[in-house]
């Protein structure tokens, strides 16, 4: 009896996997493996695009999102942005037909360059085995491209900006600079508002404390020109650089305990490396930092 049971169980362990494969196409083992690998690779690449461009969200609570934004859709959206960017320049400085054409050509080159860059990044994420990489390098690359995409492709360093610089004179360039500065200031204030509100909730700050926190962030954390939403790592890095004795007066004892516990866990060098990795320009921030007292005395 014992022997029969043993024989049945042993046989079952051999037969079961074979039965499990009955429905599959009768392909040689190597080919089947390659197909599965390819599917997984395509899946990871698709996920990369999805994470980068996002999706068309649901319009009613509880309903599912309509679709993912594809590369083609993103390209069309960028072409639309280019038209609007040229319109904006034209609102500020007069442009002739030829100049508009030049700007459009330059902007189109920026769009092409961005998509070429996506292709290069994806290629760099392909492992020697041909499979698509996983984990942090993928996330970082995607976030960095996402920030670039969201920040817009026609800012400083772009072909568009270079061509524009050849078109406008010094007075017109000043008008454009002022408009860019004003937009950046609005964005910096928005960041400060969001962060003061978010931390205000988390720490139980009253309105006066939130206002002080807002002022501090607005004054002390300059915003690099090229960035988009999603810059919390940058903000937290810069916030942590503010001397603690300047932060302390804003908070009560319990709030301070919670906040410093959070800040103490941040490793400045690692956070700095992360921020640079994400493509944030810390140069501007370094320049804008208040100089130490000894240096000021000199």
């Amino acid at each position: 009896m014992k022997g029969n049971t043993l024989a049945f169980l042993t046989l079952a362990s051999i037969i079961v996997p074979a039965r499990g494969q009955e429905g599959e196409a009768p392909l040689p083992q190597g080919i089947r493996k390659a197909t599965a690998g390819q599917a997984a690779r395509e899946d990871l690449e698709t996920n990369f695009d999805r994470g980068l461009f996002g999706r068309i969200p649901a319009t009613k609570p509880g309903s599912t999102p309509i679709a993912w934004i594809t590369g083609e859709m993103a390209r069309a959206q960028l072409a639309m942005q280019l038209t609007l960017k040229i319109d904006e320049v034209e609102r500020l400085v007069p442009l002739g037909g030829g100049e508009k054409k030049k700007l459009r050509a330059a902007g189109e080159q920026d769009i092409r360059r961005f998509f070429d860059h996506i292709g290069e990044v994806k290629e760099s994420l392909r492992l020697p085995s041909g499979e698509f990489a996983r984990g942090r390098p993928v996330g970082t690359a995607r976030t960095r491209l996402g920030i670039e995409y969201r920040a817009g492709l026609f800012g400083s360093g772009s072909y568009f900006a270079k061509v524009l610089a050849t078109i406008v004179d010094e007075t017109q360039a000043e008008v454009l600079r002022k408009a860019a500065t004003e937009r950046n200031r609005a964005r910096r204030r928005t960041r400060a508002l969001l962060m003061a509100q978010s931390w205000g909730d988390a720490l139980g700050l009253d309105s006066e404390q939130r206002r002080k926190l807002f002022d501090l962030i607005d004054e002390r954390i300059p915003l690099p020109e090229r960035n988009g939403l999603g810059d919390y790592p940058y903000l937290i890095y810069q916030f942590n650089e503010i001397p603690r004795d300047q932060l302390r007066p804003i908070f009560n004892e319990m709030q301070w305990k919670t906040l410093t516990h959070h800040l103490d866990q941040i490793k400045p060098e690692q956070q700095k490396a992360r921020v640079i990795e994400l493509g944030f320009d810390l140069g501007e921030a370094e320049q804008a930092k208040p100089k130490p007292e000894a240096e000021q005395a000199k």
Partner: protein
């Protein structure tokens, strides 16, 4: 020899256990459309979930928001030790109900296949409502007034941050002029709806959040013809629970430390639960 026999028996048992998993994998493969080809490991057979499984995480979540709000009351109303104890005691009772409800909500969401929902925003709102009621009953009229004023300011600040962030999202797509930004800011403020920005954290921590489903009439009157055409084509809608959840979690500061009065209230509640169970 006995060891070898034991090993073979074990192999056999494993093989039998694999039958349903393999069959399930085949069935899933047959049903899945070819183009999608998801690559998912087949989950091991599990006990069916029950709300009790989510009690620990519900407790953690609810207490996190409870302490946040308690500290807000403490900062705004400066309650006496007796008042603080009374708020903590009443709050603990409300919290217990909320923990059960949250565990049940998470359980239902999991049953519906929603693995990301934690109900953070609902918890926060419910805790704020409950504690506001307790403040009204337990504190002086002057303290309650101060609390009401501060909660109104908090809501207004939240709205201001939300409006500013949405204007920025629109500006990034449409290149608005300063006048247009002001006009749209005023229009959004007049017509504000909370679900446009369920959490400012979302707008701070994600690079590719979409523009909320704002009615065209709030924005279009301020736009040029080209901007209006672009606006119509822009993807707009609600942020997913997943995105909101991740954003809240990523920005969430550590759970505030537990004050003595909160700890006393929690321990008293635990003792009374033990007594009830014993009966």
């Amino acid at each position: 020899m006995r060891h070898v026999l034991g090993l073979l028996v074990s192999l056999g048992v494993v093989g039998v256990c694999l039958i349903p998993a393999s069959a399930l994998a085949q069935a899933q493969k047959a049903e899945a459309p070819e183009a999608v080809a998801p690559f998912k490991p087949v989950p091991a057979a599990r006990q069916p979930p029950n709300p009790g499984q989510f009690l620990a995480s519900a407790d953690r979540n609810c207490r996190h928001f409870f302490r946040m709000e308690f500290h807000f009351i403490d900062q705004v109303c400066s309650p006496t030790p007796e008042q603080a104890r009374a708020i903590a005691g009443d709050g603990e009772k409300a919290l217990q109900k909320m923990i059960l409800k949250n565990a049940d909500d998470i359980f239902k969401a999991r049953q519906e296949g929603n693995s990301s929902r934690t109900g953070d925003l609902e918890i926060r709102e419910a805790i704020r409502r409950d504690l506001a009621e307790i403040v009204k009953n337990r504190l002086t009229a002057e303290q309650a007034k101060r609390f009401r004023n501060e909660t109104q300011k908090r809501t207004a600040d939240w709205r201001r941050a939300g409006v500013a962030a949405i204007v920025e999202l629109i500006d990034a797509e449409l290149f608005l002029s300063p006048t247009q930004r002001d006009e749209i800011r005023r229009s959004l403020d007049r017509n504000w709806r909370g679900d446009w920005c369920p959490s400012p954290d979302l707008l701070l921590s994600f690079p590719n959040v979409s523009i909320p489903a704002i009615p065209d009439e709030c924005v279009e009157p301020s736009l040029t013809v080209n901007q209006r055409n672009a606006w119509k084509k822009l993807p707009k809608g609600l942020q997913s629970h997943l995105a909101v959840g991740i954003a809240s979690a990523s920005l969430r500061l550590d759970t505030p430390p537990e004050d003595d009065v909160l700890r006393e209230a929690r321990e008293a509640s635990n003792r009374s639960k033990v007594k009830e169970d014993a009966r």
